[in-house]
Symmetry: C2
Subunit: 206 residues, 2 copies
Amino acid sequence: MPKEVATAERSPTRRKSGRREEILQIARTLFAEKGFEAASIREIGDAAGILSGSLYYHFATKDDMLDELVRPFVLPLLKQYEVIAHSDAEAPDRLRQMIQFGLQNLVQEPDLLKIVANDRKFFAKSERFSYVEEAWQDIFQIWYGVLQDGVRQGQFRSDLNLHITLRMIIELLNGTVDWFRPDGRFTIEQVIDTQVELLFGGLTPR
Amino acid sequence: MPKEVATAERSPTRRKSGRREEILQIARTLFAEKGFEAASIREIGDAAGILSGSLYYHFATKDDMLDELVRPFVLPLLKQYEVIAHSDAEAPDRLRQMIQFGLQNLVQEPDLLKIVANDRKFFAKSERFSYVEEAWQDIFQIWYGVLQDGVRQGQFRSDLNLHITLRMIIELLNGTVDWFRPDGRFTIEQVIDTQVELLFGGLTPR
DNA sequence: TTGGGCCAAGCAAGCGCTTTTTATGCCTCA
DNA sequence: TGAGGCATAAAAAGCGCTTGCTTGGCCCAA
């Protein structure tokens, strides 16, 4: 008779107690801090106050932990980008919203975003996690479409190489993951504002 | 006649043969591809057609290999940035030259630049390699000075947060390391041109 | 009394590195 | 001229340690 079970499911080792979720969040932090491969299960165990072997009562493999963290994050992320990109706002507005959404994510889910952005090499080489790299490709396409729309409508310059421009924008957002601290000198609003301003208007005064 | 005069005299194991240099370049490639820590000495040995243990005839430690690769790259890099930044050209010109220099490096020394950009976490936590992170800090300061000059002279907008702007520019350059391929669709000149144009002029047409 | 949750112990594989031995030239000098 | 000695380069074997993961059993709350 479960009391207040949020993750209730028929599968074993998942019925109650919250301990599993607790461990998962500890792992999430460590994966984000050190990278998935560099974070060892012994470290995760230590941080959870448990022996590393005991983790395998809750999870079958280390990969499972990662998958359980990343999968429910990546797919909605992709979908949300799609929603914004296909709204009927003007291209510059959609672009701004996408930047804003991407950076807001950095505040709400910094760890997961770090993992997904920093461990791209690992995801790409892993068969099991190919869906992450595929999501990245999809996201690229979505951004690209918005840029194209803007150029077609004369709202973006037509003399820029769009592929390179797109790479720049993505690297810009992903790079922010590595230096932005929510408790640091700048608010995320300042960062959003500066990035949007610089991206749209450039360094040179008008 | 001294007995143990043999080893480690004026030119230990370095007089000729080129083998050492050959191995060093193999290591450089692997460090760049997989990251320093992820590249094992057994892989380096395999790629060199040698057993891993035999590497230690040429090098004392794995760290030594990295140091021998990175040190003679980082210090001239820093110095070159200084030279450009302190020339008497106008700030926008200096900035453009610095971008150009940074990206040209990506063609001439892609491996070393990848190592220095991607393994920053490792360098930062290693006492021995602290000079790499220090060089990065110095480079930051140099860029920042140029940005400030431009703002003072009214050549750059004064309504942008310069710290955030600087982070963006650096991430932009470092991010390029991860996707640019000299044999790919774009020439480095195209990339330089697009990055400079976007950075100076922004997406919005004038 | 049952089973969820953990500990204790350990396995195989891989890590950076060390030591000892072997193979192959090249140089010197009787 | 050719044998001994040295330098170079690598193999072979194994060290101590860490990795992800397994197994068997204990404890205690329901």
